[in-house]
């Protein structure tokens, strides 16, 4: 497909909002904050610089593939470069992303934890269903590398917590 319209980087960013995280499909790669740069190459193709959430995250390659195929739908040729630096931290998740996570039933990362010492205080995690802070960690490792497993002591629901990573 050829197009006479000039493709801008804003347009690319906009399209990437439609690429979901394969593990948590309510959030996009933009919400997650894994897209670092979009760069236009001399031949008119685009290079997307993306950073993995966790080094071993099996979703990374899948996400990269989805980015390329979404842009291809609009006739845009692209490739994804995986970059490690600056390291992804959960602060890169957008406000919109946090809202969507909570709505989906995953507690978004909380501030207030202390990762500077081995047994530093864990953050108070808020139940995504009833907003109670009376929650207990069941396991620090959950269904995916980025999540921990919690339960709410008030509404008694178990839930996933998107671990703070910084």
């Amino acid at each position: 497909m050829s197009t006479t319209k000039e493709i801008t980087s804003e347009y690319i960013w906009k399209l990437l909002e439609e690429v979901p995280d394969p593990e948590i499909p309510v959030v996009s790669v933009i919400d997650l904050g894994v897209i670092r740069h979009v760069i236009k190459e001399d031949d008119g193709s685009w290079t997307i610089k993306m950073t993995p959430t966790y080094t071993g995250c099996p979703a990374t390659n899948f996400m990269a593939m989805n980015v390329v195929s979404r842009l291809k739908e609009d006739g845009i040729k692209s490739k994804v470069d995986i970059v490690l630096s600056p390291a992804w931290i959960t602060d890169y998740i957008t406000e919109e992303g946090r809202r969507k996570l909570k709505e989906y039933g995953v507690a978004p990362p909380q501030q207030g934890g202390d990762s500077s010492t081995l047994f530093g205080k864990r953050p108070d995690v808020i139940c995504p269903r009833c907003d109670s802070t009376n929650t207990t960690m069941v396991s620090n490792f959950g269904s995916t590398a980025c999540k921990a497993f919690y339960k709410c002591n008030d509404c008694l629901e178990p839930f996933d917590y998107f671990k703070c990573h910084k």
Binding site: P52, Y54, T55, G56, C57, P58, L84, S85, P86, A87, W88, I89, S115, L118, F119, V138, S139, N140, F141, G142, S143, A145, F149, K163, H165, K166
Partner: protein, 254 residues
Amino acid sequence: MTKEEALFQFLLRKADDSLILGHRLSEWCGHGPVLEEDIALSNIALDLIGQATELFKYAAEVEGKGRTEDDLAFLRIEREYRNVLLVEQPNGDFGKTIVRQFFFDQFELLFYQALTQSKDDHIKAIAEKTILEIRYHARHSAEWIIRLGDGTEESHERVQKSINELARFVDELFYQDEVDEILINAGIIADSKKLREAFDKNVADILSEATLSLPENNWQNKITSGRKGIHTEHLGYLLTELQYMQRTYPGLQW
């Protein structure tokens, strides 16, 4: 030895540590003592294999002979693996797996923290990424050491037995030779000798809280041959499983 050769060797050593331990932990998948721990150990395995991938990729680039990260992971023979002997030791019971992980995590925590100051941008980037994951691993293994050591008579006894068995492999984590000297002088890696004091203190503090102790007089048993490629018999069996697919169907891709 040139700086590039030293860098390649170093990356291979650290990548092999992560790969082999990651593989060992993956053996727990579906066999964990409780579901949460099955998931935790598999998660940690995944992180370690992810770290190994990054280190192998960079190693392949430094070597410049057209090998890929997969070639390095799957297509070397036993003597070419450079991991420390600790990580290839069999899982044993859950307590033994935790002891092995505890010693390793306590070292990695200090070592990768120091690597975040590397003058090599690529190593710095890998370290800044992986240290975030290692902190979770280190807390997990340390908490279990305390829970098992200060738990029942049975759990205490089992974990103490594993400490007595695995303590002789700890020194190798601090092994240094020409490779390390070249890279330390170039500001690329940290001098692990300088981390030893903190390591000993952290390990002693946690073991003390767990009512456990390091064995005395274990110096005569210390072995440090993994970095030279001379392994315990356990690695061969592990590699047989690890390499099976690529040896049977060369070049197979998912």
